[in-house]
């Protein structure tokens, strides 16, 4: 199997104490869609910046298609399309100009860049805004222009840091469909996202990062299997329901009157006993018992990390 990225013992420290990445080891196969999940400050963006040669690891090495990445490596710039977490700062360019210029800077001819830009702007739903200034767009539209600039020129590798941030559900679906199409074309895609539920559609493998380290890695199926000893219980209470009982309130509140909790399979009998209480069952509007999602796995790791810290 050919590796797009080989990350070996990568540590990144700032000053004496701040360790953004700590002994990160990872391989990403060519053509794979790989997700990096983790809470804010877990070291995801730092890792990604090293993968696009914007910064260098303090120790360790990163290889792209077998060759070691050097700081500001032009080979990386040529093969990798990158969408940064921060918005694209090309405020004074028109939408089409921003995408065309990026295509030209990737080495496309003027004609290729124009055609590619129009195609992408149609795909992301911004064709009717192509003559608007980037600076006048909404946050979501701005994000889509950034995505178009990352995709133009069809780079071998895409590294997308929170590609669906600020997008509405329709635009998010469009983005995931585009990424699925790129996956089918053999593009290697590295996704950093908090949108775990939706990303599960496209991800082949996932690494969960906590405090600069990778704490779990595998396919969404494998990670979920590791959490199969638990099931997820989701309970929605009626508007007129009294205060949620204590055992339910211990779960995660996912809406005004919605609770989600992981329950050990062995503890289901106890849950059913609670649910059997006539007062509670009358207050329940909706009840779901499902296998864990990738998001549950992620949350479980995060909660575990927080408990360890505490």
């Amino acid at each position: 199997m050919r590796h797009a990225f080989e990350i070996r013992d990568v540590c990144k420290t700032y000053g004496k104490d701040v360790r953004a990445n700590d002994s990160v080891n990872l391989t990403i196969a060519a053509g794979e869609v790989f997700g990096i999940l983790g809470p804010n400050g877990a070291g995801k963006s730092t890792l990604v910046q090293q993968m696009v040669a914007l910064s260098a690891p303090t120790t360790g090495e990163i290889r792209l298609f077998g060759e070691r990445i050097r700081p500001h490596d032009r080979r990386v710039r040529q093969r990798v399309g990158y969408l940064a977490q921060r918005p694209l700062a090309l405020y004074d360019l028109k939408v089409r100009e921003a995408v065309v210029a990026t295509g030209r800077l990737r080495g496309l001819s003027a004609g290729q860049a124009e055609r590619g830009a129009l195609e992408l702007l149609h795909a992301v739903g911004l064709a009717d805004r192509q003559n608007r200034l980037v600076g006048s767009l909404s946050g979501g539209e701005h994000r889509l222009v950034g995505l178009a600039t990352a995709l133009i020129g069809q780079p071998d590798v895409l590294i997308l840091d929170e590609p669906t941030n600020e997008l509405d559900p329709v635009a998010r679906r469009t983005v995931w469909d585009m990424l699925l199409a790129r996956r089918a074309a053999g593009t290697t895609i590295v996704l950093v996202t908090h949108n775990v539920l939706e990303a599960e559609r496209v991800l082949g493998r996932v690494a969960i990062m906590m405090q600069g380290r990778i704490v779990a890695i595998g396919s969404p199926g494998e990670l979920k299997e590791s959490a199969m000893a638990q099931v997820r219980l989701e309970v929605s209470l009626r508007e007129d329901a009294p205060v949620a009982p204590e055992w339910l309130a211990q779960g995660r509140r996912i809406g005004e009157r919605r609770f989600s909790m992981s329950v050990r399979r062995s503890g289901l009998r106890e849950v059913f006993a609670h649910l059997g209480d006539p007062a509670l069952s009358a207050a329940i509007d909706d009840l779901r018992l499902t296998s864990p999602s990738l998001e549950d796995v992620y949350v479980a790791y995060q909660e575990k990390g927080e408990r360890t810290d505490g």
Binding site: S55, R74, D92, E97, T102, L105, D156
Partner: protein, 252 residues
């Protein structure tokens, strides 16, 4: 997987695309560039005319060429320093540094764009200077390389300040201080400067730009001046460009 990445663009074609991207800034800010680059130098020229009466033609030319260089310095030092610091703070350079273009082309495009933003101001200063001092200015093509050389060297200083300053505010402050130095040391003839300031004056590219422009506007350019001042401006530009290019690798 097949390597189907397009070939990286050449330096020149990348430069033109990047210059176009930088010049787009004028879409929203051309009024500011025009006003800022012309108001202060024109105001100083008029103020000095009011205070000095009708100075001799050589001093008048010194004042006009000094203010032309000040016009360049406002955009190339003060505004550029702030812009570069802002780009650094907002990680705008990340966008360029993840594309297969040389950093040097990005830096040059930014420098040239800011130089071009100074052009309307230069025109206004020349016109107002000629009218208010009543001197005949020899407008020749030679002014273009003189302004270009001075501008590139000064914008090198601006970019350097922007890259090294902690934030945009500090870059703006230091940019304004350097600009003031350019103003005083450029307009006051070297013969009237204290000795300590003469050395400082020699260390600023603007001094050579003012002298070169003064001779050009007078229609009398001895080959020695042309060669010496031209070589100094080229040397300043080259050294500053190398510094800025190296430092820009560390940006982010």
């Amino acid at each position: 997987m097949a390597d189907h990445a397009p070939k990286a663009p050449g330096v020149l074609s990348a430069f033109w695309v990047l210059l176009g991207m930088q010049l787009a800034r004028a879409r929203r800010s051309w009024r500011q560039y025009l006003i800022v680059s012309s108001a202060m130098p024109t105001g100083i020229a008029i103020l000095l005319r009011a205070m000095l009466g009708r100075p001799d033609p050589s001093l008048a030319l010194q004042i006009i060429s000094g203010n032309v260089v000040l016009s360049v310095a406002i955009t190339a030092i003060a505004m550029l320093a702030q812009q570069v610091a802002w780009m650094r703070q907002n990680r705008t350079f990340d966008y360029y540094q993840t594309l297969p273009v040389p950093n040097g082309a990005v830096i040059l495009a930014i420098l040239f764009a800011y130089l071009l933003f100074a052009l309307p101001g230069i025109g206004v200063v020349l016109l107002v200077g000629a009218l208010s001092y009543g001197v005949h200015l020899h407008i020749t093509w030679g002014i273009v390389p003189a302004v270009l050389g001075t501008g590139v060297a000064l914008s090198g200083i601006g970019a350097l300040l922007g890259i090294t300053a902690r934030d945009g505010e500090l870059a703006g402050l230091t940019g304004n201080l350097v600009m003031m130095a350019v103003l005083f040391l450029g307009i006051i003839p070297a013969a009237r400067l204290p000795k300590a300031l003469v050395a400082l004056s020699d260390a600023l590219p603007s001094t050579y730009g003012v002298r070169l422009l003064g001779h050009l506007l007078a229609g009398h350019l001895p080959p020695g001046v042309w060669l010496l001042d031209g070589a100094c401006l080229v040397a300043f530009s080259a050294v500053l460009f190398v510094f800025v290019e190296r430092l820009s690798n560390r940006v982010g």
